[in-house]
Structure formats: C-alpha cells, structure tokens
Amino acid sequence: MSKTMRFQFRKGPEVRFLSHLDLVRAMERAVRRAGLPMAYSEGFSPRPIMSYSFALPVGVLSEAEYADFRLTEELEPAEFMELFNRHLPPGFRVLQAAHLPQGAPSLMSGINAALWKLHLPVAAREEIQERWRRLQAEDSFVVERQTKKGTRQVDLLPLVYGLPAVLETGDAVEVHCLAALGSEANLRVEELALLLGFNPAEALVTRMGQFKKEGSHYRPPLGNRGFTWTES
C-alpha cells in the first residue's frame, strides 16, 4: 500500500481570504495538532512533505482543492479524514481521501482544467448568455496579462472550454464555467471577469472542480470517473 494520502478538501467562507501560503501554514499546523504520522523533509528545518493543487486566488471559495500528504505509516482513508477534520480550522473540510497508487501522476501534472462557479448578484442571465454567444463568434479576445517577466498579450477565448450552466437563483445569476488551469494554459479569475463583463470584487467565486481534460473528457484527480462535455 502506498503511504501517500490524496484528499479533496473544501475552502469555505471562514477561510476564504487566506492566501495559499496561509493555507499551507494552517495545514502544517493542523497536521501537528492531529499528530498525523507525516514524513518530514531533511535539513535544518524539516517540513512535512505535502503538495497541493494549483493555488486558489485570495477570496475564492473551493469545493475541490486537492493535496497529497506523504505519511510514514499506513492509515485508513476514513481514519485520516476523521482525525484530520477534527483538527482543521473551521472552514476547511476533507471531503474524500484515498491512498495514492505508486506511480500515479502528481497533482500538478494531473490537472489542466477547472470548473468555476460565479455567483453574480447584479448580472442578468440573458445578458451573460448573449455575451457568451457573441464572444464565441469572435476570433479572439486579447487582453494584457501582467506576469513576473512583464506584460504579455493573451487570447482568452481558447482558454474557456464552455459554460455548462447559466442559472438564475433568486436575485443572482450563477455561471458555471470550464476553463484552462495550470502552468501550460491558464485562465485567471479576473480574466474571466473581463471576458464575461462582471466586477470580480462583487462576484463570489467558487472552484467546483479540478480535472485532467483529455479531449472532451474531464477526470478529477480523485474519486469518480468524471464527465464528458462539449460546448455546443
């Protein structure tokens, strides 16, 4: 049996404003409080060996964050969940866990797409749908992206894989959007805002899923076998 535990966790409203670094620190501390049998790195200041899926922007919620923890002892996933959940700060919750088979791809290489849910309190459903129809007819939607190396022109259109749902919920609109995620191709949340024309400060954004997209098939790094979806 492998000693790496892969798990999916929630980042709820209580911890929405933590940066990725804050999150990692909070996890390390929860690990120690829980007394999990973690493997530690070598060196002057040993750290528990853990890796995470792509960092979530500050202010964004998630139902599908993933982490791999390297353990020194075998632990049943159920036991792991029970123990770790007891020591996680409010707002974090492990939703499922499983042993990672030897040789399985890392989180980083096993993910290239995300499903975002945008809760837009001001937008109208038809407007969003109309805008999306018009955008699809365009050749490109080029914006400037600030990177560490300077500004770069990026076409956002190929980075959006589709809007599987645009729903009306009371006085808000909920948009579900599949988009590129990762080091090769990536759509940022604020770019999605530019594209769909909403104010990112007013939207409540949730990452609903992270997937390996192969053609039209989307497979999560853990658990069910995923789904197939193509934008019509």
Partner: protein, 617 residues
C-alpha cells in the same frame, strides 16, 4: 468578525488580518452578567498577535465564567479609509461588536510611537478621546505595559492605568467592575474604587502643579489616595497562570510560535535600559513547569517553533539543559527551538550550536558601545577580550554572519567611541576571515540606534543629542563602515526624537498628541507612515517645546513628572548609578554578586528567584 467588513475584504491588503475563526479563538456568549473587555493593541494584527502579554490576559479573562475578552487591532490605512468612508466603526475580531459596547477597553503601551494609534482607534470606535468627555454609556478605557511608568502624556485619555504585572490585578479589576456594574454605580465611583486598588492609577484624580512652565509636583485630589502608585509584582512566576492555548493566526504575523516566558526581570543593570529597571527582580520559572507548558501549547497550536522568551534568555540558570531537553523531545516532528534574546556576555556558542536554526540566521551581539570606557559608563559588562573570544568561537563553530547592535548618542560619548564602533566591526570581519570554518564569506551587520533617555533609569536626566548631531554621527559611521562585507542599518532619528519627547513627557503633551492625530499622524513607528512634518506642526500649534522635553539635561534636584509612578526602584539608586556612570564605575549583577540596593526587594516582598535556589528550598 463584523459582517459589514466582508465586502471590503477583497479591496484591502492582507484581508486575513480582519477575519476571525482562528484556531483557539474564544467566542464566548455575550451575556448580560459577563464583564466584557476588549484587548486593544495599538498596531496592526500582524504586530499585535505576537504580543505575549495579551495572550496571557486573554487566557485569564476568558478563563473566568463571569467575564470575556475579545481582541481588537488597528486597521491598516487602506481598511481604515474604507471604514471611514462607509461609516463602519471599529469592532472586535471575535464577535464583531463595536468597541464602544464593551465594559472595558484595555490598551497595551509597548512604546511611545504607538500613542497616536490609541487615539485613532478611539476615534474609529466612536469613543470620546478624553476621559472628561466620556459618560456612563462609554467603556472604561485603561492601559498597562512598560510605558505605564510614564503615562502622563496619555493621562487625559485613559480612565485608569495599571502599573506592573497584570496577572493578579486583572482579577481585582474585573471583580470590582462586575460588582459595580450590578449595583449600577456611576463611572466616577467605579474609578474611585479602582484608584484604591494597589497598582492602579487614575490620572484624573491627580493634579500636576507647574510653576513658570516647569513641573513642580503632582497631587492626589482625594486624601485617601496614595501620593505614589506602586507597581504590581509577583514573587513567584510559578504561581501565575500561563496560557496553554494560543490563538493561531492564519495571516503571517511576527513571533508566530510557541512562546514560554522562562524568566522575568533582568538585573544586569544596563543604565540606559528601562526594561532592566522596571521588571525587577529576576524570577525564573521552573524548567519542569516550562516543559509542561511547551507540550500543551505545541499540542494545541501545532506551531513548529518554540521560543524561550525573556529579556535575556541566556541568563536562565538551566538554559543548557532546558534547550537540550526540548530539542530532544521535538526535533523528530519538525519543531525547532529558538532563543530570541541571547547576549554576548552570557552567550555560550555551544548553546547556539544546539539550536540548529540559528545557524541559518546568524548571531546577534549587542556590545552597545564601541569602547571599553563607554561600556563601563553604561554598565554593559563586556570586555573587548570577551567579545573577541566569543566572536572567534562563533566563526570557528561555522557561523559566517554576525550582527552587532550599537547605540549612538550615549552620555559622555566622544568621537573615539564612534571610531570604536567602526573598529569593532572591522575587527569582527577580520576575525571572521581568520577563524571562519564556513565556506561563505564572513559578513557583519552593524545596527545603530540612538540613545533615548527613559524614565526610571540612571540616564533619565540626560538630554538626547540634537537631530543634527545624531544624523552627523550616523553619517560619520556610515562613511567609516563603507566596506565590503559590512552592512549598516540605522534607526530613523525622528523616531528616536519622538520617543524621547514622550518618554520624558508630562501631561501637557496630551494636547500635542491630540493635534498630531487631527493632522493625520498615526503608525508613527512605521518608517513609511511617520509624518514628522505634521508632528512638528502639532508641537508648534499647541505651543509645546518638544526639543526642551527631549534634549535638555535635567537637574537631579528637579521634580520629575513620572516620579509618582513607581517601579519599585528608588530614585536614590538611580542617582547613585548616574554618578557611578560618570566615573565609569560598573555595578555588578545582584543575581550573582552583591545587592546594589536598587530598592525593589526592600519595597516589596520579592527577591531574585533562580531555579536552582528554589529547588533547595
């Protein structure tokens, strides 16, 4: 937290400062019969969360079923602006209630440069700044901490002040406030009662008398009040409660680690050092008790670092064995041990070697002065030979980076002493080249602060150098230290000046402080926020001669505005020390040598209490 802040969070830097839900935060029910106290730190969350004193009080107050404590910090300028625009008042972190709805709002006075923030926080909370303007519905605003020993510049803004250690007196305060609240007694009468509690000072019941612009004396308004307020001090730290659960912040904050206080007080007797005077005598905690505390805090927080804190941790009698035991116990799970205040003269290189973490960060020594002569004046009992040996040992043991702390503008300083600083830095560098075992090039960082005369120290009478003189001394050193391998860091002279003004200030400074806040001064200790121009204007507008407060030599025959606030150290001792300083005669540490009759052990039922001694009892 206050839900009104949620929409603002995406708009500010480091929003995690303002959210709560931290592990171990106490959310006690806001019931009618509980005394509610806000622990207000006059700086941002990132700075205030590391303050051990508030952790102790938070645990004590929340440990009582009839009381609750919540935390509040100064919002950073971006958040403040948004709050003011939208009319959102300052609220506590836990329940998000208005500060004004607490029974007690307690500030800690860590340094003078935080005073503007206190007024600003009161403004943001909608609590009248001045004691005289508050009425029955307003909270009682109190303060404690080192600056309480000259709290006069804040006298008009604080309803009461606690001198000395808070662990015991806080119970007396809560009991009294609870009882009076139930009886529906007026605020004035509660204050009358509080003024009789030992260690509690109610400034509005004391009247300063001036003649010809000079402070003469301060008189109690009621005959039953003491002329002098004595500090609170506990004979045995082992009897004091210590928090076993620290609130674990999400955001990155200073001193974010397990902290235990291994000893309190310091009797080395550095003559510029206020902490060394006001926290006397020395009281060490039992190592077994400390290990228990560490175990509980590590388990409840998950912190990866244990810090053994005190004014001078190397002085702890059983430091070697304590460090060793902790390292043995925690190394395996990635928890390190750190000693934040190691002194050159008490320093054992082996001790630092035990602590692997120190290897990365470099070692810090504080010779404070550049020549033996001046070190004798300030009673920093370190010889050139000591310094040489210890620095050599450090390089031999594999360190390559040494940090040296110095002070300029010390009494009797001459150019020779400045040269001494530069020479020492160069010498350390050359010892590094000679003795290093590390492959890295030796590096020396010289950090230079300016002397600030502090109340209740032997140097309280000595004027600070002018800003121009301090600047020219800094420039002189900068020139002499321009050398590869030497880095130079400075304290802003404007900071030191304001510290001196307020540390030796009297009640009249309150007007200038208020004016400065009106003009927009706050976060004065932040280099990029200090508005010295506005400060100068505030002094001018209120007719305060700030230079007079900071820079004049005070005749020891003169009355001092802080002499009624007693840390237990006698004025005669301070004067004796000042005279010895001028003769360059050092005074020994009473822990290991003769009692130098500072007075504290005669004025209180206390004595130096070292762990080995207490074992033999």
């Amino acid at each position: 937290m206050d839900q009104r802040l949620v929409p603002l969070l995406p708009l500010v830097t480091k929003p995690a400062r303002y959210t709560n839900h931290e592990v171990n935060a106490q959310h006690k029910e806001w019931s009618e019969d509980r005394v509610k106290m806000a622990l207000a730190f006059p700086d941002i969350y990132d700075v205030g969360m590391g303050h051990l004193g508030f952790k102790i009080l938070y645990a004590i107050i929340n440990g009582r079923s009839d009381a609750l404590a919540e935390r509040v910090y100064a919002p950073w300028v971006d958040m403040q602006k948004l709050m003011e625009e939208r009319g959102i008042p300052l609220t506590s972190l836990e329940s998000g209630r208005d500060l004004a709805s607490f029974d007690l709002v307690g500030f800690t006075l860590q340094h003078e440069l935080s005073y503007t923030n206190i007024l600003k926080m009161l403004d943001l909370a909608g609590i009248p700044r001045r004691t005289s303007a508050r009425d029955e519905g307003d909270p009682l605003v109190l303060a404690g901490g080192p600056c309480a020993f000259n709290v006069e510049p804040l006298a008009d803004f604080l309803d009461f002040v606690v001198l000395g250690e808070g662990e015991e007196v806080i119970h007396e305060i809560l009991d009294l406030v609870k009882e009076k609240k139930q009886q529906g007694i007026s605020r004035k009468e509660i204050l009358r009662e509080l003024a009789r509690v030992p260690g509690v000072y109610v400034p509005s019941f004391y009247q300063p008398i001036y003649a010809g612009g000079t402070f003469q004396r301060i008189e109690p308004l009621y005959p039953d009040l003491p002329a002098q307020i004595d500090k609170r001090v506990a004979p045995d730290l082992g009897a004091l409660p210590f928090p076993e659960e620290f609130v674990v912040p999400f955001a990155e904050v200073v001193h974010d680690r397990t902290m235990v206080e291994i000893l309190r007080g310091c009797t080395r007797g550095c003559r510029f050092c206020q902490a060394g005077m006001i926290y006397r005598p020395v009281r060490e905690r039992d190592p077994e008790l400390l290990k228990e505390q560490v175990a509980k805090i590590v388990a409840s927080t998950g912190y990866d670092e244990i810090s053994l804190s005190s004014l001078s941790s190397g002085d702890y009698t059983q430091i070697r064995s304590l460090v060793k035991d902790l390292i043995d116990a925690y190394q395996g799970c990635g928890v390190s041990v750190s000693l934040p205040s190691l002194r050159l003269d008490s320093f054992a290189v082996e001790l630092a070697q035990d602590i692997q973490k120190a290897r990365k960060t470099g070692l810090t020594f504080a010779p404070e002065a550049g020549t033996q002569r001046l070190r004798d004046v300030i009673n920093k009992n370190v010889s050139d030979q000591d310094l040489k040996e210890v620095v050599q040992a450090a390089f031999q043991a594999g360190w390559h980076r040494i940090k040296l702390y110095f002070m300029i503008g010390l009494p009797t300083e001459t150019e020779e002493d400045l040269d001494g600083i530069a020479d020492l830095a160069h010498k350390v560098l050359s010892w590094g080249r000679e003795f290093r075992t590390s492959r890295k090039r030796p590096e020396v960082t010289v950090s230079v602060s300016s002397f600030v005369p502090k109340p209740h120290t032997p140097f309280q009478w000595v004027g600070q150098d002018s800003l121009e003189l301090l600047t020219s001394k800094q420039n002189y050193l900068m020139e002499r230290l321009r050398h590869p391998g030497i880095q130079f860091s400075l304290h802003q002279v404007e900071h030191s000046f304001l510290e001196a003004v307020f540390s030796r200030g009297d009640r009249r400074l309150g007007a200038a402080l208020e004016r400065a806040v009106d003009l927009g001064c706050q976060f004065d200790s932040w280099g990029d926020q200090l508005r010295f121009d506005l400060w100068l204007q505030a002094f001018k507008d209120t007719g305060i001669d700030a230079v007079h407060y900071a820079q004049r030599d005070i005749d020891p025959a003169e009355a001092l505005p802080w002499s009624h606030l007693s840390p237990g150290v006698d004025a005669e001792f301070l004067l004796r020390e000042w005279n010895l300083a001028r003769q360059g005669v050092p005074t020994a540490d009473c822990r290991w040598d003769l009692c130098s009759r500072c007075g504290v052990c005669f004025n209180y039922p206390v004595a130096n209490r070292l762990v080995e001694a207490s074992r033999g009892e």
